[in-house]
């Protein structure tokens, strides 16, 4: 009886936390806080776990941008995902805490730094593991099944480590 009451409460809480999502799958679990802002679309597919207990999770799609979190993925607290056009996370991924995923560098390397370069979408394949405190930068395309250790910086098409981490 008590368990079912907790389950109902959890479901209501998840609904409330994800109220600004464009689409939510079934069996989505939210713990702690998820902070969704921006005018774009957020799609959370079936069975996603967003564990924002250690620190809030930020999902920030800009106007007309899209963030898709695939089926069965898990994201830990303190992770911030910012999309100026598109960030797509595949199925069954694990993304550690305090990661940063962004699809733009926001400033030009040369010339006027207030000019924002064109966004380069980020794609993360299925069954990828990304360690805590990693940074996934504009134009990254992570191949399915990759593993990245903690504090990795990922900015191109890449397979990551084979069986090792650190």
């Amino acid at each position: 009886m008590r368990d079912s009451r907790i389950a109902v409460w959890d479901r209501l809480r998840t609904r409330f936390q994800l109220r600004r999502c464009a689409a939510i799958g079934t069996g989505v679990v939210v713990r702690g806080n998820v902070w969704i802002h921006g005018e774009g679309r957020v799609v959370v597919e079936d069975g996603v776990v967003l564990d924002g207990r250690a620190a809030p999770i930020e999902l920030f799609p800009w106007d007309a941008a899209e963030i898709v979190i695939g089926r069965g993925s898990r994201i830990d607290g303190g992770t911030s995902i910012e999309a100026t056009r598109s960030v797509r996370i595949g199925a069954r991924n694990t993304i550690g805490g305090f990661c940063r995923i962004m699809d733009s560098h926001f400033h030009a390397l040369l010339g006027d730094r207030h000019v924002r370069p064109a966004p380069r979408p980020v794609t993360i394949g299925d069954d990828v593991t990304i360690g805590p405190r990693s940074i996934v930068m504009a134009g990254a395309a992570i191949e399915p099944g990759s593993t990245f250790g903690a504090t990795s910086v990922i900015r191109q098409t890449t397979r990551g480590l084979d069986g090792t981490a650190g």
Binding site: A55, G111, I135
Partner: protein, 207 residues
């Protein structure tokens, strides 16, 4: 030549003009008016947050900024502190000096810790979760960051480092040795290469 923007003194006249402009904007473009109002509140918030510091004109604090320690902190004109997931921390130990020069932008979650001296130049862009400290477990030595420097997300600047004007440090790097002017630094420990450009150094416009 870079243009030095003229910073108006904050007078009653300016505040009244600002409020009238805001009212006019509220009818024509409400969303822009809200942003403007947020900035105005940011200016007031900065007044409160930096009340014990030497603080220039029109400093904006859009999020939480923790100012701790008994050292001295100097903030230049029109410095901006963004808001976000984490608070920005400025800690100056007794005898320590933090200087942030005019028009520098600091995102959320930035930590600046000074036991001796941390100097940040004009028009720098400091991204989220950057840590700048002049004391670690081994050494204490002053840190100097030049003008127009861009420190990307999650950069750590270690004691004794000097970063030259116009340089860029890429995301997640740990800077443990000096970076000359107009170069791109990356990695842990950071290595640098010259920034080549036909466009010349960044031309900055006032925010």
């Amino acid at each position: 030549m870079m243009r030095e923007p003229v910073v108006p003194a904050v007078t009653g006249d300016l505040i009244i003009r600002e409020l009238l402009g805001l009212l006019r904007l509220l009818f024509s473009r409400p969303r822009a008016a809200l942003r403007r109002l947020e900035r105005l509140l940011g200016v007031l918030r900065a007044r409160v947050v930096f009340r014990r510091c030497e603080c220039g004109a029109l400093v904006v604090a859009l999020g939480d900024v923790n100012v701790t320690g008994d050292g001295s902190i100097r903030i230049g004109d029109r410095v901006q502190f963004a808001g976000g997931m984490f608070a920005t921390t400025l800690y100056a130990a007794p005898g320590g000096v933090i200087t942030v020069d005019a028009l520098t932008f600091l995102s959320y979650g930035v930590s600046i810790e000074a036991s001796q001296r941390v100097q940040i130049g004009k028009r720098c862009q400091i991204a989220s979760m950057v840590l700048i400290r002049d004391r670690n477990e081994l050494t204490t030595a002053p840190v100097t960051i030049g003008d127009d420097v861009w420190l990307a997300y999650g950069v750590i600047v270690e004691p004794g480092v000097t970063i030259g004007n116009d340089s860029v440090v890429s995301a997640g790097s740990v800077v443990r040795s000096d970076i000359p002017p107009f170069s791109l630094a990356q990695g842990n420990p950071a290595t640098w290469s010259p920034l080549r450009s036909t466009a010349g150094p960044p031309s900055l416009k006032p925010i």
